[in-house]
Symmetry: D2
Subunit: 338 residues, 4 copies
């Protein structure tokens, strides 16, 4: 860490803070000019926060040298992590998955039609929402446990893996039993209590980026899960909140490149939630492939007009098949492994 | 709701959507011009989302007329709600509270010194964090249950009410037993599962605004709690995330005015988390009073330099007493009830 | 326009506003429910602003039906506009250009080396900054007129078109004489005085998106130029400002799709300024192609380490050639016209 | 400046960059740990940009120690600057001004009624827009030169100073002749060409904060004006763009406190543009006083319903008088100098 003192900081203040940290076992290297006190704090600083420094009188600015995440860091591994879902499906390190499915599971019939379409198109993982995080208490909240049971039953019929969003740590036992991969929604990305509990699970976790999270905060959220015992984390970029309202969120594709630089974890992209517009999904998916995403997550529905949630951003089944084809051909052309 | 069709929408598309909604019991009023189909959808639209409309082919734009929140709405009550903490402390409707306390409870001794200072200064409510939501898994995570017990014991000694942040719904029983008021942190504002569970409680809830939440989303979060049975909600503005980094967040004081217009619920302001700078706290508190806030929430510490979290934004006890005095005199001058 | 009155608006207020607008020649269509007054205002509303409505007592919300831009609107033309630079270079309608060049023109020698590289790689347009908009007055401000003269001379040698950023309308005569295409920088996107003056020019204009502009504001800026007489506008997405600091700005590729839907104008992408990182440029360029961009604008430099500005986001010449090749092959594979 | 190399940076890269800067006359102080190269660059770094460093291979992060602004910096002067408008009106250093007036000058009669009201209320400066920056080319663009002449004539009648927004540097001569104080609008805050030209003027300049400018960029814009010769700069906070749409912008009152810490320049607040809602203006003005603003800028109109622009955020004359009174009494109570 580099600590810069205020212009009017006194020699005494400088001596107090440097002495204190020396006593705590850190090495101090002075970088002061003749107008300002500055020093480097060398040692294990990952448990220090900026506030631990700012409380000293005279501190103006703190700059971190080490990244605050370790186990999620590219520093740990030059090789891309490959996450296994069950024994035979992989994401990362060249393994690309198109994860499709309805925003909400509505019935066995609905889920079977969609599952069949995905299976026929060569898909391996189906998504579905059963505990729905809805902005309004008056919106459809999902089938809850019943929905997960439908998902389990139908995906067993077709040999698909399932992923669904967990609403709270007290549902973890239920999710452990019924799903293959657990999704942490954007609104729960910094639900640290939940993240810790998920660290005790062995299931792969899809960790969506928070609505206004920085990449660093996102990787620290992943670090929580890994640090508490579960290394199977897949990041999912789903758009961030900006002043632009034409799209639901602003898809940040440079985040895919940044994550590949900063971390060894796989990262996928959700163009459906990012844009909120089904007609943008195909092209944004190709763009995601272009920047090196390890997968895409797409909302589809057998009959979007009657969908109980988020129909507007769902592809119908025909559109899904067309999009799936486009993505696959695109990856083939680019000579990307599947 | 007003629904506007695309420029190239067909008469058939217009007829399909209007017929469907008429069949669902809504009244349709046409507002089309000669170049574009537009119509009003009249009836109970609070359970409709924009997506329920957008799934129809040809829809370009949906505008809501009713506010999506009802029970939190000013429409429900012209009178400001007054929330009681215990039998004798009130917030709202002219009742103003300065809620102070340490970011983290660290020990009985620490909490007793701070509690005594608050009591002596005339304060009625003390805050303290015991389950700390920390961005990094390597930062101090709080004393957890032990901290709540310390808070309970010490506040009983001094006759203070306590408020602390709940990490997850599975700690609700513990909080019911140990604290007087439950805080929902900014990162949990859209933890809908938690909000529903808090609806079953009778404790007053301080609902912090999410890091990037709109005022409408915030009031919908309050609506969740009220709708599920608990009307005792106090909103807390704590700054929103913007591109400006000089302050930790950007305090949005116009949100206080907006909430007073849109809702009957009390609203308080947290200048400590908003700015992240203890030297800004006093002036931002006075500004909060100026716009009509029903209280302020301030971080204080007996020894900020050794605080285990967020020392930089904490006032020391002397500064706190000075600030408390300033605020009280300021409100007196303005002839505001206390 | 749809105008919604406040919940407590009176019948008298409703009658006043509707009568006034009827008198101004608008048609009024009522959409009121039994709890709230709402009406449509039909006629030519493009010169009305929301504020023209809000000044009436009792108005709660105004929703525009017509897009506020006309001449830039897709409504005007289903066919994509093709903009000509000189007699033989085209952008739009399938015509794709890679525009490369240094952030700042530094000398004849530097510009010649770069121009030769671009020419050899098959490029047709070279960019170069000569009046540099720099955040600090202490940074290099560009060679100004001298730089434009160098650009003109060298590009004539190689038969390239040149584009450079105009700092102010009082330099318009100079730019008319020396460059082939005029760039409006992000910071000038809402310099309406300049936009009007550019409307009197016949040169093609590259209009960069403002740092925090909505797509609607951007298209209105284009509308200024077209409305004042110059239809030759090319939009350029260059990232928007968000809370994310890892990249210089956040590239908004969904804006390319949105612009294609809302407007007939060509749109190109500048991955260099968006990301601020040269190692992201190639992949973001491919992503831009994937979503249908009509070109990319890339910063290159013969010796980035000695560049007088923005070296960090510049490709060196070797990297440029490699990137140019990748983009061209990528477009070939996708069967896109060049 | 502190320069941190990448984790995989080589010793050779470290030696190259440190040698180069030593050769340029900077002092190098090493702060490396055993895992990462870090060094301080000591000397006059204000003309260096981060990019000048990033172009070296192996650089990961650059942290500035000196503020990039000098003449606008608090470091230059502990005393608050007092800016004179004409010989007898002052802003800063305890001198507070309420600047009121119409969004647009519409006619002599209109401006006279408003000027008289301001004069009678004890005001000394009147604002009025004559070259209006309007988002749409179809909105009223102002009376231009004619409007300035009206302002000059009427303010001479009443002995008021006038301030108006300049659209472009080629109108500077006109503004020099006709107004007492020149306003740089938010959209022109980084029109560096204009800022340089204003440096040649002797008129006081009101520099509005850009829609999405950081405080550092804003102070650098002030630095441009001062550096080019004109020290008479007054900053004006007018809200920043965020995702919140209830208010037109988000008023950032902590920016007032930040500016007072970082700079000696006066700062005023414009609650009218920030909120876009006239009913918020009074309370936000009091909040601005509470944080130490040196003035407020308020839009008023004799008949807001017929105003040619921005009526919705204007106070009528009666409201203005009431607000003026409230602010004055508020400042008296607080024992603030006027």
């Amino acid at each position: 860490m580099i600590i810069q003192m205020k212009l009017d900081a006194t020699k005494k203040q400088y001596e107090k803070i440097t002495k204190d940290f020396r006593n705590k076992g850190y090495q101090i290297k002075d970088v002061s000019s003749n107008t300002i006190f500055v020093f480097g704090l060398i040692g294990d600083t990952k448990s220090l926060t900026e506030n631990d420094i700012f409380v000293y009188e005279g501190v103006a600015k703190v700059t971190r040298i080490q990244t605050p995440f370790k186990k999620a860091s590219r520093r740990l591994s030059k090789t891309d992590s490959v996450i296994k879902i069950g024994s035979d499906v992989k994401i990362g390190g060249g393994n690309f998955q198109i994860i499709a499915g309805p925003c909400s599971v509505e019935s066995e019939d609905q889920f079977r039609i969609i599952a069949k379409t995905i299976k026929d198109a060569g898909g391996k993982i189906i998504r579905g929402g059963s505990y729905k995080p809805r902005t309004s208490p008056y919106s459809f909240q999902g089938l809850e446990k019943k929905g997960l049971e439908i998902m389990r039953k139908i995906s067993n019929e077709f040999g698909l893996k399932i992923v669904s969003e967990i609403p709270s740590s007290d549902k973890l036992e239920e999710f452990e039993r019924l799903v293959d991969m657990i999704q942490v929604g954007a609104r729960n990305m910094q639900n640290f209590y939940l993240l810790k509990e998920l660290g005790k699970s062995k299931k792969p976790i899809i960790l969506k980026r928070g609505l206004s999270s920085t990449i660093e905060e996102w990787l620290l959220a992943a670090e929580y899960i890994i640090h508490h015992g579960n290394p199977n984390v897949i990041l999912c970029e789903r758009g961030i909140r900006t002043f632009e309202n034409y799209t639901r969120n602003t898809l940040d594709l440079s985040a895919v490149l940044a994550v590949k630089e900063l971390s060894h974890l796989p990262i996928i992209v959700d163009p459906s939630h990012a844009s909120g517009k089904n007609w943008m999904v195909e092209k944004l998916s190709l763009a995601a492939v272009s920047v090196g995403s390890d997968g895409v997550m797409i909302e589809i529905h057998n009959d979007p007009e009657t969908a109980l949630s988020d129909g507007a951003q769902s592809l119908n089944l025909e559109q899904y098949i067309k999009t799936e084809n486009k993505i696959s051909k695109f990856r083939e052309m680019l000579n990307l492994k599947t």
